[in-house]
């Protein structure tokens, strides 16, 4: 029983470990090894060091490093190597004692302040903040100076002086957790069941704080070693005969002037190595513990622009007679989509086609393996037409939109073909593809509050965009264009020089639309453009979008999870599930007669519950790391048949023009 639990736990841990970034992992191991070596040296100091820490029997004075005295000897006939080894021991003693003191003082104070609240809390917080703001070394000096008068100098005095620096940190962590939990409902609940309130708060805070202790400890340890050395250097550390690195370095200043380098070099190198080891260890623990970093390690949101690598994916593929494919490994989200150059095999788009996407496939490289986020998606939108792309979050609809624009994060590989306004993006060079963004296709996003650069005036966004595409345009011309674009979105001209934070969400989305349209693109990709807005503003924005495509012949790709919006705004509808388009057709036809069971489920959830959540379909989408062989919807599908489990259905045209990928309908069996 326990054995199984253990192994499952170990498996989970090893998966977590592997999902972190290899560099973070290597640095963590390096830090752990360095720290471990020093720890061993500290424990075994009397065995490692050839001489005692302050033993000078008949050693020569200032002997160079040699086989006898590895690091040389000092002015006072000490063996430098023995001194630095014993210095390690002293450093660890002070580190452990000082963090211990800091916890013993800081934790109860934090609990007390957080628990009692009110005035006392405020005074303590102010006091701790003031201590925290004060230069830490000066704080330690003042403490050591004051202590030297009535305790004298030594390991405990030095540790106590240093601990003063860390008390505010422990205080803060504990106080904030205590405060957060004090009013929590479950405390009341547990109390009603007879547990004492104090015990509950204590236990909760303990478990929360304990998680952050390893990181705080290593960071403080690194800092404590530097502080101890500084105190020693200033003459307020642990006095001789104890071996203390900082003190030894201060004694060596006179040697340096005469060219005796070894007495100061080695103690400093030891400090450098140990502090580096501890810092690497702390950062490593933080990188593994911190869930944020862990998620970033999956590579999805990671940003590391690098050079773009364009490569022909195997001549073998071409000679095998399949469509020649140009693979763009996007190490930078710099260049747009990778595209199949039309080699005459595929038909060109009709003249009134604004956007053609053929067999688009997007793969993310993650530490756990490649994830195909979009699998062979093909859509076509005519001028003035709008297509709604719907699906649950994570189904790949946003990835598809970004794939069209070519702004996928690094680690994404794109294949397939994108033709915008009759121009195949594969025929463009890098600069032209950059300019295609904004000029041929524009994009607006879900969260208008964060999409404008907070440090730039609204007008500057326009000027920058216009001049990035038409460098010959003067600033004043660009400003005039901005004014026209803003006026069309009913943003008063007087506001053009305001900063983004001075606008409401709805206004910002209108600004984003104006910004997207200023270069007259053929296609507008709108990714959940109203999700974060309230209903009235939502209606406004949808009306603007609808109006735009009717009047300006622009094609609209509206990505949303809200079928109601699609019904109001779109001519056609594409339903995505687990990276694939499963149904595609005229909005009225599909709404009247949804064919795919998933589409049916979506519509049912809207009709029956009138909710925006698509939660009424039981189950969850498959893991795209390891997608099922057959139909991806099989384990949630009420009509699942044998064939569904092993044969993937393909998108097939129906009599009314709708396309469906489902074995319930003709043509799905390829």
């Amino acid at each position: 029983m326990t054995g199984m639990g253990m192994s499952a736990r170990r498996q989970r841990l090893s998966r977590l470990w592997r999902s972190t970034h290899p560099t973070a992992r290597r640095l963590l191991v390096a830090g752990a090894v360095i720290t471990g070596l020093f720890l061993v040296m500290a424990v075994l100091a009397p065995l490692v060091a050839p001489y005692g820490e302050a033993e000078y029997r008949d050693l020569p004075q200032l002997a160079r490093p040699s086989s006898h005295y590895w690091f040389g000897t000092t002015n006072l006939r000490y063996d430098v190597f023995s001194r630095v080894v014993f210095g390690t021991r002293l450093a660890f003693q002070v580190v452990i004692l000082s963090t211990g003191f800091a916890m013993v003082i800081g934790v109860p104070l934090g609990l007390f302040a957080g628990y009692s609240g009110r005035r006392l809390d405020r005074v303590l917080v102010l006091l701790m903040d003031a201590m925290y703001a004060f230069p830490s070394l000066l704080l330690a000096i003042v403490a050591a100076f004051a202590l030297s008068r009535f305790v004298g100098q030594g390991v405990p005095a030095a540790a106590l002086s240093i601990s003063v620096i860390y008390i505010p940190q422990y205080f803060r962590v504990v106080r904030n957790h205590t405060l957060a939990v004090r009013e929590e409902a479950f405390v009341e609940a547990a109390r009603a069941m007879g547990a004492s309130r104090r015990t509950i708060v204590g236990r909760y805070v303990f478990f929360n704080v304990v998680q952050s202790v390893p990181v705080i400890f290593t960071v403080n340890a690194a800092d404590a070693i530097l502080t101890l050395a500084a105190l020693g250097f200033l003459g307020y550390g642990v006095p001789i005969p104890a071996a203390e690195w900082g003190y030894d370095i201060s004694r060596a200043i006179g040697d340096v002037a005469n060219g005796f380098w070894w007495t100061s070099l080695f103690p400093g190198l030891f400090i450098l190595a140990l502090v580096t080891g501890l810092t690497l260890l702390g950062e490593g623990i933080n990188d593994v513990v911190n869930p944020l970093l862990r998620r970033r390690g999956l590579g999805v949101g990671a940003v590391a622009p690098g050079a773009l690598v364009v490569e022909r994916a195997g001549t073998a593929l071409e000679s095998a007679g399949s469509e020649p494919i140009l693979v763009v490994t996007e190490e930078a989200p710099v260049e747009p989509v990778a595209v199949t150059p039309s080699a005459g095999t595929s038909p060109g788009p009709a003249p009134d086609t604004a956007l053609l996407v053929a067999e688009l496939r997007v793969t993310y490289a993650t530490p756990r393996g490649p994830v195909v986020a979009v699998e062979g998606a093909s859509i076509e939108i005519k001028r003035g037409e709008s297509l709604g792309l719907v699906g649950e979050s994570g189904c790949g609809k946003s990835t598809l939109g970004r794939g069209i624009l070519g702004i996928l994060p690094p680690g994404a590989t794109v294949t397939g073909r994108v033709v915008i306004g009759g121009v195949d993006l594969a025929t463009l060079d890098a600069g032209e593809r950059r300019r295609a963004r904004g000029e041929r296709a524009a994009m607006i996003f879900q969260e208008p509050m964060t999409r404008l650069d907070p440090l730039q005036r609204v007008e500057d966004h326009f000027v920058e965009t216009i001049r990035a595409h038409h460098p010959e345009t003067s600033r004043s011309e660009a400003r005039a264009m901005a004014a026209t674009a803003l006026a069309a979105m009913r943003i008063p001209l007087t506001r053009a020089r305001n900063y983004p934070h001075e606008f409401s969400g709805g206004m910002r989305q209108r600004i984003m639309i104006a910004l997207g349209l200023v270069l007259g693109p053929a296609v507008l990709v709108a990714d959940e453009p109203t999700t974060s807005l309230d209903v009235i503003v939502e209606a406004q924005i949808l009306e603007i979008l609808d109006d735009l495509r009717r009047r300006s012949d622009m094609a609209l790709l509206l990505i949303t999870h809200n079928l109601g919006i699609v019904a109001e705004t779109c001519d056609r509808l594409a339903v995505m599930y687990a990276g694939q388009i499963v149904e595609l057709g005229d909005v009225h036809t599909v709404f009247a007669r949804p064919r795919h069971p998933y589409t049916q489920g979506l519509l049912a959830s809207v009709i029956s519950l009138d909710t925006e959540q698509l939660s009424s379909i039981p189950g969850s989408p498959p893991d795209l790391l390891d997608p099922p062989v057959g139909c991806r919807f099989a384990d949630r599908c009420p009509f699942v048949m044998d064939v569904c489990w092993h044969e993937p259905p393909v998108l097939a045209g129906q009599d009314d023009g709708t396309q469906v990928a489902c074995h319930l309908h003709p043509g799905a069996g390829s």
């Binding site: 230069p135 500084a230 990671a302 920058e464």
Partner: protein, 342 residues
């Protein structure tokens, strides 16, 4: 939907000032308590048996140390409020004079170190973020950690060893060659020698300043590398950077105008926090290079166990820290219009 204007900045400054006062009060009280509420009296502790009892009594009376503690406390606060930091027991000089004499040197050193630190931090940090997870990034991060991990005084000694002792290029200590001091205007030697076109003084001041400023600047720069890198990573994956790319803005412009500029905003605030570190570091640097600033005075008074002098200097540091953090906050409110509205 507030409008932008000077008024809101003024309101912010006022509110921030109100916050600074209690902090200052607390720092002064802690300083007083730590240094005064110890058994025995400061004069005996400082001078020991070196003076006669009668003389010690005389000094105690002169310094007001014979009065009850709470009286000493109130008069300490009153003195500080009009810029009186007391007198040193050992030198019997008012600390105000010491500070006035030595502050320009500390200011010159810290400003120069800040320039070095920002230069190193911004350059290496931004490069590391831009080339995330490449060898450049790993190298930059390691450099940041190593610089942080090097004890300032040791780094200073190592630089002295190399550049002063081995190569003989730069002096090991002091602020300027004897009799080279430029005519006083700002009392920052570099600035004054520039103003008076005194090139000999300028060269000398620069030679003396280089090693201490580089030492202090590198150590602080280690921290800046990390801060700039982390901030830049944040802004590089921010929504507005993605939106800018979607508009077809060139990559270089995206990097500099959007990612980099925004990454610098929190750095300004954080530089404020690191200012405390800079002051701590300055004490060590000044002691290493016998740079005649306040840090060196503090070091000397510490060696002499001069209680009233240490108290006076620490008090000055407290005032300085609170003042600078105030200035930094106002500066960042000025740079980033969002802060004012919070």
């Amino acid at each position: 939907m507030a409008t932008r204007g000077g008024g809101s900045l003024r309101a912010y400054v006022f509110a921030r000032l109100l916050l600074a006062l209690p902090m200052l009060f607390i720092l002064l009280t802690v300083t007083f308590l730590l240094l005064r509420v110890a058994p025995g009296d400061p004069v005996t502790a400082t001078l020991g048996g070196r003076v006669s009892d009668a003389r010690a009594d005389q000094i105690r009376r002169d310094l007001g140390l014979d009065r009850p503690l709470w009286r000493q406390y109130t008069s300490y606060l009153a003195d500080v409020s009009h810029g009186d930091f007391g007198r040193a027991i050992t030198t019997n000089r008012p600390l105000r004079t010491t500070i006035a004499d030595r502050f320009p040197a500390t200011l010159e050193l810290t400003l120069a170190a800040m320039v070095v630190a920002i230069g190193v931090g911004v350059l290496v940090g931004a490069l590391a973020a831009r080339f995330r997870d490449t060898p450049i990034d790993v190298g930059g991060r390691l450099l940041g950690i190593l610089l942080y991990a090097a004890p300032i005084f040791w780094l200073g000694i190592m630089l002295q060893l190399l550049f002063s002792i081995q190569l003989g290029w730069l002096p090991t200590g002091g602020r300027i060659a004897p009799f080279h001091e430029p005519r006083s205007i700002t009392r920052l030697y570099l600035v004054d020698s520039l103003f008076t076109a005194n090139w000999a003084a300028f060269g000398s001041a620069l030679r003396y300043l280089t090693l201490p400023a580089v030492t202090l600047g590198l150590v602080i720069g280690g921290i800046f590398i990390r801060l700039v890198r982390v901030n830049m990573l944040q802004t590089l994956k921010s929504d507005y950077v993605e939106a800018a790319r979607a508009r077809g803005i060139g990559e270089r412009r995206v990097l500099f105008n959007h990612a980099f500029r925004n990454a610098l905003v929190p750095v300004v605030t954080i530089i404020g926090l690191q200012f405390a570190l800079l002051l701590s570091g300055a004490v060590l640097t000044e002691a290493t290079f016998t740079w005649p600033g306040i840090g060196l005075s503090l070091y000397q008074f510490l060696q002499n166990r001069d209680y009233t002098a240490v108290q006076g200097l620490v008090t000055f540091y407290a005032l300085f820290v609170v003042g600078v953090s105030l200035l930094i906050d106002i500066a960042s409110a000025w740079v980033d219009p969002r802060i004012r509205f919070q």
